[in-house]
């Protein structure tokens, strides 16, 4: 937990409205674990006001590079979408708790929805170096082919890779969650790791609980401080009350989240 300055080296439009920021930030590259995030200030002014949280997509300690995947969805991210090389970002981070290690032989299943792929690319990358014989399977879902952002980077780090789109423009047609139960049945992973929209995560959590496969989810929530003070990013906890995405998360055991209160019955 610290603060750092990152310099934008290259902003790559990887899909319509999606940008991969290649930044130079040795401190964060060195300190980041897969699943952690940085809290990025968009400019010096007060509009937009709040920092934006982004999962680290890749961190390369050797080169000092930190990659962040940005989907332009509002004022802050639309401004980032115009930034040129040389732009300096004030970061807090790396923040939060990252992915927990898998039990056994790293026979794992990664389930990504849209830009939720970012922390899973870092995880897949890490598993390849941390385990002698990893076996990483991935399901990647999105509305259309364009939503399967950075899929080549993802697929390159997986032994098996399945794309699913709602309109059938790439891979199988349907929802990524439709493919999950059969995949668990087939490959019996030691752990399922998921990141994507809340509604997707809720279904993933339910399927994994049913199949008795441990599951970790990385969650997103509107955030104020990012350091645990404002309690703005709370999500409902199974144990009652709420947990903070910034501090207890963003990675949670799927069973820790009260999905019915999170997304409705």
């Amino acid at each position: 937990m610290a603060r750092a300055l990152a310099t934008l080296m290259l902003r790559e439009e990887v899909a319509p409205g999606h940008y991969l920021l290649h930044t130079d930030c040795p401190e964060v590259a060195e300190a980041s674990a897969p699943g952690q995030f940085v809290h990025l200030r968009v400019g010096d002014g007060t509009d937009p006001l709040l920092r934006r949280p982004f999962s680290v997509m890749l961190a390369q300690p050797a080169t000092g590079e930190v990659q962040l995947l940005v989907r332009a969805v509002g004022r802050g991210t639309e401004i980032i979408a115009t930034h040129q090389a040389g732009t300096r970002y004030d970061l807090l981070g790396p923040l939060g708790n990252g992915w927990g290690a898998p039990a056994g032989e790293a026979n794992v299943l990664l389930v990504a929805g849209g830009v939720g792929v970012a922390p899973l690319i870092f995880l897949a990358d890490h598993l390849r170096s941390a385990h002698p014989r990893p076996y990483v399977r991935a399901l990647f879902g999105g509305g259309t082919q364009d939503a399967l952002v950075c899929w080549t980077e993802f697929a390159a780090r997986c032994e098996e890779f399945t794309a699913v789109t709602e309109d059938g423009s790439a891979g199988d047609q349907g929802l990524v969650t439709d493919a999950l139960a059969p995949e668990i049945e087939r490959s019996r992973p030691d752990m399922v790791y998921a990141c994507g929209p809340d509604a997707m995560l809720a279904v993933v959590a339910g399927i994994c609980a049913q199949a008795e496969v441990p599951c970790q989810v990385s969650m997103e929530q509107w955030m104020g401080c990012g350091v645990g003070a404002c309690l703005g990013c709370a999500v409902p906890a199974t144990a009652g009350g709420y947990v903070r995405v910034c501090t207890e998360g963003p990675v949670f055991g799927a069973e820790e989240i009260d999905w019915e209160r999170m997304v409705g019955p």
Partner: protein, 305 residues
Amino acid sequence: MSAPDLSVEIAGVRLQNPVMSASGTFGYGMEYEPYLDLSILGAIVTKAVTLEERLGNPPPRVRETPAGMLNAIGLQNPGVEVFIRDKLPALRGVGVPVIVNISGRSVEEFVRVAQMLCVDGVAALEVNVSCPNVQEEGMYFGVDCDLTGRLTAAVVDACDRPVIVKLSPNVTDITSIARAAAEGGAHALSLINTLVGMSIDTERRRPHLGNVTGGLSGPAIRPIAVRMVHEVARAVDLPIIGMGGIANARDALEFILAGATAVAVGTMNFVEPSAMAAVIDGLADHCRRHGVARITDLVGALQVG
């Protein structure tokens, strides 16, 4: 010239400088220790503490707005006993005055919390009569003169610590509430709390916040806050802690010139965790540039006309 004297006194509590955290934006202090030397602060004002644990409101709890944000946390806190046991010891260790913000559903609840907080390490109480996110609670007191006066008097009786009453801007005439708090025996006033606001997701036709409405804070509300400090300072003879969108020393000086003895930094802590350090440095620099020996010489020094 020698270093300007930034120290001030609020209700008998000596502060090394007039800059403190605004309740609810700084947790219980320690969250910010990695980013800021807490010992440089004038005081630390905690997040609201209630008699029993509060779980808070369903998400989403925050939403950015132009130069500001809406929040509806719902007074989430572990309750006064846990606060005293788990949070206060570290806060005391910082070595600056700790002001504990308290809230409750009834006068009796406020009184019990105040009684329990009469312990070492608590320099003063800030009475939250103005939380906009919990129905029929603080806000209920803070928009009614009689209730504000009665609640203030009860808390003053309950604990020998100085009592600061935090005023709501969501009233027709803030000076009448300020007078009621003064008549109830308040030792100081803090203002403003957040303005009730709302933001709508037009695609989904739903409110952005789980609580539907929330409290608006940040630079967007600063002109309203400065105006209200100006009004209250002329109406009531009590020290004022001014707050509302302070991002730098210039903003803080607006409040001081309008009549605030001290200032609190709130939402900007989220944006820039070291914002208070910059405000303190900037105040000293301003005093030097203007040949001001004591920051108190600037309190209410606004010239009109």
